[in-house]
Symmetry: C2
Subunit: 307 residues, 2 copies
């Protein structure tokens, strides 16, 4: 059983490989006789031809691959997985629509190896949960010209596009926190990115003892017992469900960052966002991919509004 290659089709049709390539790729600046085109198409279908993208990548110098690089340990907490679940799905679906394939790759937060970008000649990269320090150190190593989009991280570098939720709006304009700061405590998701955590903490009108950054169910429980009599605002549905084990869910307002608000008990208050991070990220990335113009302008930081 012979391998089905361009050359094979060329042989069987009695034309050259070039011609076959022209036809199969609908090359516009070439003009092909209708009947040869038909014959080529026929035998291609008959043989079940499928192009070898590795070969194509080699010559076109682009792989058609996008990398989703996620900073997370081998045993990631379930609430972290929850928060990425939706993101992954949205990104994958959206990219497929546009003919790209998605490679998923976890990065060791402490010593992330980014070789995959160069090895696979990724056309674009979405980085999730990036640690500021490491990122700066590393961004040097980025093959130049590869569009990079950063999700769930506040990187103090105008060279990168960034996508995140608008926490300011969610906390200060969608909850009564601003009006009644003394009634509330807040539980934050454990983003790797310290800058993002600091940014959020700073905009909360609360003293530190009423803010908890998620680390474990046990610590969460301890924190909650100290917050008796207060209402809670919790980021991430998964964390909210853990909290609901130790406090009454009527007292909870949940900032729904995982796209799975249905999981919440109905007594809890849910704050949703208008768009999915994944979809926004891909839209933005595709735009970068299109404008091969990689202007060194300052890049946007897109904050997704709450509903």
């Amino acid at each position: 059983l012979k391998k089905v290659t361009l050359k094979e089709i060329a042989l069987q049709t009695g034309v050259s490989a070039a011609t076959v390539s022209y036809v199969l790729n609908n090359v516009t600046n070439q003009t092909i006789a209708e009947d040869t085109r038909a014959r080529i198409l026929d035998t291609a279908k008959a043989l079940g031809y499928v192009p070898n993208l590795a070969a194509r990548s080699l010559v076109k110098q682009q792989s058609g691959l996008i990398g989703l690089l996620i900073n997370q340990p081998a045993h990631a907490s379930h609430w972290r997985l929850l928060r990425h679940s939706d993101l992954i799905h949205d990104i994958e679906i959206e990219l497929n629509k546009h003919g790209y394939h998605l490679i998923i790759h976890s990065l060791d937060a402490t010593s992330p190896k980014l070789d995959i970008i160069a090895e696979r000649k990724l056309d674009g990269v979405i980085v999730v949960d990036a640690i500021g320090d490491h990122f700066h150190h590393i961004s040097q190593h980025f093959p130049h010209g590869v569009p990079v989009l950063i999700v769930d991280s506040l990187i103090n570098d105008p060279l990168f596009y960034q996508v995140m939720f608008d926490y300011e709006e969610a906390f200060l304009r969608k909850t009564p926190l601003k009006e009644h700061p003394n009634d509330y405590y807040v539980v934050l998701d454990d983003y790797n990115n310290q800058e993002l955590l600091a940014h959020i903490s700073n905009l909360l009108p609360l003293p530190d003892e009423h803010i908890y950054i998620m680390s474990s169910e046990l610590e969460l429980q301890k924190f909650l017992t100290k917050q008796q009599g207060r209402k809670g605002i919790i980021v991430n549905e998964g964390i909210a469900l853990l909290a609901a084990k130790y406090t009454s869910s009527e007292l909870l307002t949940v900032i729904c960052t995982t796209g799975m608000s249905e999981l919440l008990p109905p007594q809890a208050q849910a704050i949703l966002f208008k768009e999915s991070k994944g979809t926004v990220a891909v839209t933005q990335l595709l735009q970068l991919l299109a404008n091969s113009v990689s202007d060194i302008n300052h890049k946007q930081t897109i904050k997704i509004e709450a509903e």
Copy 2:
């Protein structure tokens, strides 16, 4: 700024591309002078050389890519995403350990396009939630010799390795269902694979009116109101959480298929499995990859035991 290729290193070191390749790949059946080896290694590091895997794939006829092909629509239900979240993470981590990269790809359940396998010359494939009918039709088109592992699907074809949970054990030996069939109703996850659903339904000692296959929260609610006075056994933590909105969670036993049992209210009974589907699937796949011997023997169906 010149591209860093093997050839470039060869030029700078004053040796041939072949020698560089030998050194960089630690080819054993060649013997290289210690100092040239050192010089090559040095300039490679100095230049920040990273191999181009597309080029390598082309000549070695293997891509180092594994495909995770998931049968799911563009807008998958949150409980479906939940069930895949853990799986994806485990698979990715395990594969990376062994030097493979993971491509994630959703398949349209009704007309799955498997071209990606041939296009990307995937070294192996894990198919999730395969529909029996389509699968048979399609398995013909599989490039021959590519190891295929099927998850969460009962495919009546001994040609494929399959991994799933041992539902028989979970339902009949870990719950009191067998002893008290009249006390229970059951809610099943909406696997695409009809054979799997039928298999599970058949082993339940319950009439159809006490079995519900998840379709929507609204339908679930309707079903639950008809089951007053019974206890429930529910597959998938996400679905259990929905159910908990409409019935008391003390009455629920949850077969935890998503690896996120912590999300459940503490009153619910949780049944866990000993291993993760992802890890088992990858272990099995790696074995297939190693034994290039693709014997046409009957393949195993691995059922993961409950704890």
